[in-house]
Amino acid sequence: MTTSADTHCPYCALQCAMTLKSPAALTPAVQPGSDPVPAPSAPSVTAPAGPVLEVSGRDFPTNRGGLCRKGWTSASLLSHPGRVTEPMLKGSDGVHRPVSWDDALKLVTAAVKDTRARYGADAVGVFGGGGLTNEKAYMLGKFARLALGTSRIDYNGRFCMSSAAAAGMRAFGVDRGLPFPLADLDGASTILMLGSNVAETMPPFVQHLQGARDAGGLIVVDPRRSATAAFTSDGGGLHLQPLPGTDLALLLGLSHVVIHEGLADTEFIQARTSGFEALARSVNAFWPERVQSLTGVPADLIRETARRLAHGATKGGSYILTGRGVEQHVDGTDTATAAINLSLLLGLPGSARSGYGTLTGQGNGQGGREHGQKADQLPGYRKITDPAARAHVAGVWGVPESLIPGPGLPAVQLLKSLGQPDGVRCLFVHASNIAVASPDANAVIAGLRSLDFLVVCDFFVSETAAEADLILPVLQWAEEEGTLTNLEGRVLRRRRALQPPAGARSELWIMARLAEALDAPSTYSEDPETVFEELRLASAGGLADYSGIDYAMLDRGEAAYWPYPVGSTGTPRLFLDGFAHADGKAVMTPVAPRRRRTPVPNPDQDAKSMTLITGRLLEHYQSGSQTRRVSELLESQPEAKMQIHPAAAASMGITDGAFVSVANERGEVLCRAELSTAIRPETVFLPFHFPELESANRLTEAATDPISGMPEFKFNKVWVRAAANGLQHSVLQASEAS
């Protein structure tokens, strides 16, 4: 058994390097139990003192030895008493009880066969996650298409990266979150961050903003004065605080200034881009004063931002970075496109010291979107509709091309189809907590309950697992081998530091057994390195080409940035010589704001109509299924709080810490209010890490971007009111129901 392993943090895409050490003679404390697993609403049962592994930060170019609280406390989950360590089957009384692996696999096999026979192969669906290793993500795509024979596979990355990915593909012909090493930011004099709060989401990242802050050139666009925006004070830079939902207009205004003030890099535009004339015409209507009226950002700040970016591009370097705040909209692809257009006007991409990037969120949000978990995609970032791509992958898999199904449904549509006629009747969920993290979560939960069979692979009884007919216990990060691709497109090794609990299995093992039982064509190895070798072949020649990478090289610490074809040394910086379109040029696509639909009228006279934005807290990750089980994190942020401006709160009689109701036509959240001048007066903020009454995604709309399928998370109309009575009422109802 290993006593020390160099690996990376289990959480976000920064993938901070860490070392895990087992204290001498310590064995895993987890005992397989036969008691029903505690209900997910009470995750306050937390780890006993002393985790089984000690965590320490490790020097690495991205985190430079730093970790945040999530990373420091990550090992406490390994011995958490709520860990699922045996397959759990839901009885007719709704209680999950252990079953043997043999029985569990037989049940799944029977459910798949039965569903297929009755409704066809597309009635079986798979929902993956951006936390899966490259090997598991790759195998999940293969398993779905060959073993299950379904086209219905998509993943939670659709909720994170799809808009920026679609915009990157459209403009550059390829999508790698940061097309340059993160440390390149250190030398920049100007960094424009749009809708990204790295100070909370990936704190060690902030080290790379120091150079820009010292130069007074950190420019943060956020409707809230977030922790990241606060870094712009004291001469660090500028904070632009647009009305929610107006980022696109702001970006068009910046491009307008760049063109009209002669700040554009005409040589670069001429030589390396196409579409300039149409773009120039399209931004013409967005002069700064008009944009001021649309966004609430003063015209002079818009001009100054454009000038600083242009100045930085010629001195020191300028970067434009986007995050979920501007991407998670029904016009997210167009907004990311507008950010890319701005960067192209300034000649940033393709330069060695300037650029555009999107900050990938989930641990393997980059690798997870490259190897076939997406409905429209095959390994190596290949299009599933491309005959050559299909032929190549079919060749690697040793199956006729016709056996690979066509494109399926993107996540929101997939979830909407649950239990519907011609929809999915039997669903596999991996590395996802869709009951909390999906838009219109109430509808998703209803969909899950309408399924014939739901299998959830997880190591805790997440809110989604609680709905499952069958929970299959899987491994945590410190118990497995594999690779992940971080936000820079660098492939990293995840290494095992201790033995998993006896009853837990890798998804690779589960897929291999099920494929066997289903008489699936091709092979399904349960060994990560063997799977990676296959992934190399499958990705060869694709956009995300991993064919030149192997475990030995990664274990030597080599910095492997894709594309890394055999015989090359990888690609730390994309676009230096050309973009990935056939003519080598980047494409500027004109975009414009679309009219919003009229919101449903507020039926509650006591409530005030406001705009809801959702986001994250430093202490929690994604749906909180893991971090809510870490006592240190839960104590620090035990519940969702609705952030509201004191002036807005005063007009509704809401005081700090008082209960509020936040509702709309989709659902209601009951939580405490937190008064803060860091938010605009017409806007409220909710973190989405919490379930049930505090679940922000009960309010978000499942409306999607027409290009990427990204849902609208950051601009929803809600009705807010003080809720002392309402809360008691609802809590009573809830406790009666349970």
């Binding site: 609280r69 420091w72 909370e200 060690p204 009209h260 013409n284 004063e289 609430g296 620090s636």
Partner: protein
Amino acid sequence: MSEQIVVVGFGPVAARLIDELLPAVRSGLARLTVIGEEADAAYNRVLVADLGVGRTTAAALALSDAAALIADGVDVRLGVRVRRVDRARQQVVLTDGTTPHYDRLVFATGSRPVIPNLTGLNPDPAHPVLPAGVTALRDLRDAEALRAAVSGGKRVVVLGGGVLGLETALAAAEEGATVTVVHNGPHPLGRNIDRGGGAVLAANLRNCGVRMAGNARSTGLEHNAPDGGFSALLLDDGSAIDGDLLVLSCGVRPRVELAEGCGLSTATGILVDHKLRAHHEPHIFAIGDCAEVRCPDPSCSECRTARGPSGLVGPGWRQAEWLAEYLTLLAEGSAEAAAEGAGEAGSAEAANSLPELPMEKPGVIVLKARGLNMAVAGDNAAEPWDDEVLTAGAVDGRPRLQIAQWADPEHGRYVKMTTRGGVLEGLVAVGMPRSAAELVSLFERGDELPADRSLLLRLDGPDQLAAAANTDPARTVCRCAGVSGTKIADAVADGCSTVAEVSGATRAGTGCGGCHSDIKDIIEKHFQAATAA
């Protein structure tokens, strides 16, 4: 079978309409002809003054590309005018002798500058020929004239204290010209602004180097320049203001003569209903500066209080977007009706169910200028101490008007908020960019203002930019690892004397590193105290 749409005029509003109709043109649902009298396709007229002072280029002003439109199948006719509209035959008669047919005709003829009646100016309103050295700053050629004056450091006289005149004056002054604004009344912007705001605005303009000649009545022009061009503007008090270029900025008037000529109802503009249709003429529409929304129904309460055309481009663009959707639905209806052999009457169902465009709020005026920030909107006439403001109770169940005002003329700052029931009916903000931006967006959304109105003034204060320094020792110093100042101080007291040691003992400073200087401060404070003791 596809519908023939003809657009008369090719300005910014027409350009928007055409862009929005392109999908229908590409799909073959509609055929589109656009007629522009200038030789250029649509360009952004709003920025002509910027072009005139050399702040942008003619190329950057383009809103449409004729070649691209033609490639998309649009019939683009430039440098040609409509002589008349033959409604009986549903065709337009052009100056080149052609007579294109229309199923739907859209007037987007815009407006033309008002040429004041002064001696030495040709007053033909339809086809003014201005003397040398005089421009109305409407098109690209006018911009050229201004450009020459500004780059030569010449003297520019702006006649008119409206927003366009002020923008031109400010830009020209900033770029090196000597500029005088001649206007009626005690302050510029006339009735759009109140007395206090107008006074602060005028003072700010002077600070920007613009000479202001208020309460002035001009009577004529002197043409004593070497080329026989403009040399001075004469005022009724017998004085003269010398200059090399006279910019006329006396407002605009909708171009309605074509519509009048074919018998359509007009007032200030071409009268249209809530579907932007000319009265009693389902085949003809009007949008933008030339259109006046006032429906034929005398009981319509919205139209009773409607103002004429705003002269602003924003409302015109919204009309263009709406009309494009409506015309597309009409074309779809016709295509379906043709396919089913049904009559036209039953085919407009989808189009008629399109929600009508809401009436525009009174226009918001935001001064486009570098050195001076100003926004006004709505009605700002009431003053805080007016009798009716102080005494009138709720009228017809409506809350009464309330005024909040703040004036700091010394520093060029002024804000006035006129509200009813907490919602803005008028606003003035001078020299307060953040407040202006916030108030304009509140005005446009019709949202209620915070009860503490001073919140809206403080947006421009430095305290909004920097978080107030927090000196509470128990505060969280390291957010990444969640370590309090107390815990760090304890670690220092226990012997940690460097940031690295504190990090090792407490994890503080191990995330983003942003708190290293705070940790250092705590260490230094500890040892200073120790030394002092």
